[in-house]
Amino acid sequence: MREVAIVAAGMTRFGELWDASLRDLFVEAAQQALTTAGVDRLDAMYVGNMSAGQFVGQEHLGPLMADHLGMGGVPAVRVESACASGGVALRTAFMEVACGGSDLVLAAGVEKMTDGADVTEVLATASDQETEVYQGATFPGLYALIARAHMAAHGTTEEDLAWVSVKNHGHGVLNENAQFPRELTVDQVLSSALVSEPLRLLNCSPVSDGAAAVLLCPLDQASQYTDRPVVIRGTAMATDSMALTDRRDMAFLDAVAAAGARAYQMAGIGPEQVDVAEVHDCFSIAEICCIEALGLAPLGEGRHCARTGETALGGRLPVNTSGGLKSKGHPVGATGVAQAVELFEQLTGGAGERQVADAEFGLAQNMGGTGASSVVHILQAT
């Protein structure tokens, strides 16, 4: 396999962007990446997207986006793995470059969620329709069950969950692309409306529009496009049972742990070498479960990390410096690529006030559904 680098990144602001359509969002992020690298051609592109078919009635995004990017004729495929669609698009693009099939490949993610679709119902299609949704389950409801299982197993409290939101909003304040760049307090989280007990509104990531894109090429060609490429050292994906009822342990995300273990092995590093991480905090309990599954915190100790500042900027291992899904926003298909954009900025020294000093290794973890699919990337600065 060839070594693969990210040579440019682009993203839109995340938020309720009424003046931008699905294709507008994609083109803005993708063009930003192409312009930065100074390229006007592509060998292939992958579009991570969860559900444009349900959100705006549009499928067949590969050719649509290639056409609007002015790349008509280029092979282009839409990639779907629910909220992990973006991460899987990146992994698919990596594979195409690594195997020698193409030299210059765009991995992008996009979602337009605010055009009027019933978002709760669309998102619920990423869980098991026959056994979960039929009975009245919602996504917050399923993560609430995970939270209750984690509370029973490890003593996690509602205050622990609140601290994750507070910490991530503290980071989001520093991100000009964040949907909700404002500070929160623990009291505000604990007094927000109940969505599904014990999860409250401010434990949940928002409904967002947005897109993100990164440009990949073989490492030995990267100097044509940038003097600071970021190398993709590890990529891995794993799956778990769709229904929560079939999980080995509801308080532990097996797919995240398996993808993490494979990515560490491929990169030849361990969790202690990670300098900065973006993990999938779609609900605050998810960040706690993810850092435990990735070995970034000991099992049962993840609940303390946001409160103690270990995972805050300036701490032992800053997690979700972008603001995470909670503060930055969560346009589902774009999220996995946006995590890579944040790491690209961190590892090239371009993260401004959010910069983690001397960051060498960054980890991005993106997941679909209640963790039925998860993809992990490990990136290294050059």
Partner: protein, 150 residues
Amino acid sequence: MPSPRYWREIPSRYRLEATRCGDCGRVSYPPRRICFACRSTAAETIELSHEGRVVASTVVHVPPDAFLMEAPYALAIVETPEGARMMVQVADCDPASVEAGMSVALEFRLIRKEGKGGILCYGHKAVPAYPLGGEAEAARRAREEEVAHA
């Protein structure tokens, strides 16, 4: 929901049919062709007990449209004595009183309506196996007798 799809799922929804693996004994609900624990295809169809215990629960305050009238409702993962787990609502009690370890009975209930002209979708809900007070128990027995005589 298109009627063939609803019809296909009737055995598991109405009769709580499940499969027990002929090799490792693992019970799958709803039935599966391949055991998810050992990949065996030797499965026998069984009917689950109409009882179990709550493994984890939540109270849904923001429901999907089809359940607007019921919110807030308790949603739980219930394990039957056969080891099968299922997602069910817990009815006939204060949703806040539902907690892990609670014993429940599984009763045949209306789950949702597919709009004004659509199918009435049935299935099972859990109810407390040991009602909280004498009145609730009496009311439940009376209702069961009523159903039996209807």
